[in-house]
Amino acid sequence: MSKKQHYKITVNGKEEEFLAEPRELLIYTLRERLNITGPHIGCETSHCGACTVTIDGKSVKACTMFVAQADGKDITTIEGIGGPDDLHPLQKAFKEHHGLQCGYCTPGMITRATKLLEENPKPTEEEIRFGMAGNLCRCTGYQNIVKSIMAAAAEMNAAKEATE
């Protein structure tokens, strides 16, 4: 009944065109169709945030959006935030402050944290915990995640002040 449709989305600055059924969840489009496997599937029920991506400036759980809704949108995943040779300050901070153990939640954590720091560049510890409430971690106990985000914020603010 539901036929494949033509969709066009921009992922990490690259325009992607493909045919898909409207019911395909965006997380599957990214991971299986476009081979962008940074966003993970933790729960698939909108609870864990492992699938978090940024869509038109919003942190979104990609398991809770149909590809049809994302048609025409601009999407950023962890791959678009920084790579091995040019780590984002958040990625560096997570590495330095042990903000991860198994790493499963990390792409979602960091993607969400980029948006949090954009909206609130100098968050308190409490604001970080509240702003990261949509991302679950089964390993770290969160302490080092909060530390990492604090450290990245400080570094980003210092870099910004230096250029001003």
């Binding site: 019911r23 978090t52 702003g131 949509g134």
Partner: protein, 284 residues
């Protein structure tokens, strides 16, 4: 989790939405942020052969502050509510409640219209809107009508909105006095075990008016007129609060579920309402 297949529509105006609803009848349904509907579709508890995405429909995302009323478009998100400073200064209870809904990701997507139209007793905005005596504007094939929030909810997922009607605007009389939205939940991001919305007016130490509504303690939100009345004319002392709690307990009808047995829910409802009244009164 793969939902059943559907035809997808993204009309640009309300006329387009209404014509699809008319053509497809019961097989069609609108989607706002999708954060209640998509989980249900993934679980195949909802089957929507014709899905109408409202994201591109013009004129549904405004927040207008008038002299006497606040008008919020159905597609305004919970995140928009939190970020809107002028709104937070005239009706701070909206931000206080929105901050207690779900988590940041959900709040970017979840809309006011979807939250109040959904009919899930766990949603926080229906009780909030009953407390504020809001009205919901719906449009359908026979034109437009306003339905008071206090008359909107009939049973779980059953509302006064007809299937072929779309909710466009929530209109709230400018709130006065002190406010509080108090919510008990098992963990951050969870639906309420019990929640209370309170708006209260202090006239020289005496309560001049009080409006109280409760969330997730019946199959609909509960506007407890009796609880509010128990406070009016008092100094909102301990006895008055106990009377308000007793009146509220007479109006709710919780059921046992994974949030606890009935006795526990009633206990929590009392604690939460008392806290909400105390906080609202301290701000009045």
């Amino acid at each position: 989790m793969i939902p059943a297949a559907f035809e997808y529509y993204r009309p640009k105006d309300m006329a387009g939405v209404l014509s699809i609803l008319e053509e497809q009848g019961d097989d069609a349904r609108v989607m706002a942020g999708g954060h209640s509907l998509i989980p249900m579709m993934k679980l195949r508890m909802a089957d929507v052969p014709h899905l109408i995405d409202l994201q591109d429909v013009e004129g549904m995302s405004g927040i207008d502050l008038g002299a006497e009323t606040i008008r919020i478009g159905a597609m305004v998100t919970q995140h928009d509510i939190i970020e809107h400073e002028p709104l937070a200064s005239v009706a701070p209870i909206l931000r206080e409640a929105a901050l207690q809904i779900a988590d940041p990701q959900v709040r970017y997507m979840g809309t006011v219209g979807g939250n109040v139209a959904n009919g899930d007793p766990g949603n926080d905005m229906p009780g909030l809107m009953q407390c504020l005596d809001a009205a919901f504007t719906v449009v359908g094939p026979d034109g437009q009508r306003d339905i008071p929030a206090r008359n909107f909810y009939e049973a779980a997922y059953m509302t006064a909105r007809e299937d072929e009607e779309v909710l466009t605007t929530v209109t709230i009389p400018m709130p006065i006095g002190g406010y509080a939205y108090e919510k008990q939940k098992r963990k951050i991001g969870d639906y309420a075990t019990a929640a209370a919305a309170v708006q209260i007016v202090n006239d020289g130490g005496t309560c001049a008016s009080a409006s109280i509504a409760m969330t997730n303690l019946s199959d609909t939100p509960i506007y407890s007129e009796a609880a509010g009345a128990a406070l009016v004319g008092t100094s909102v002392d301990d006895a008055a609060m106990s009377a308000a709690v007793a009146a509220m307990l007479g109006d709710i009808d919780p059921t046992e579920d994974n949030r606890g047995p009935i006795a526990f829910k009633k206990h929590v409802a009392g604690v939460i309402l008392r806290r909400a009244i105390e906080r609202a009164w301290s701000r009045a």
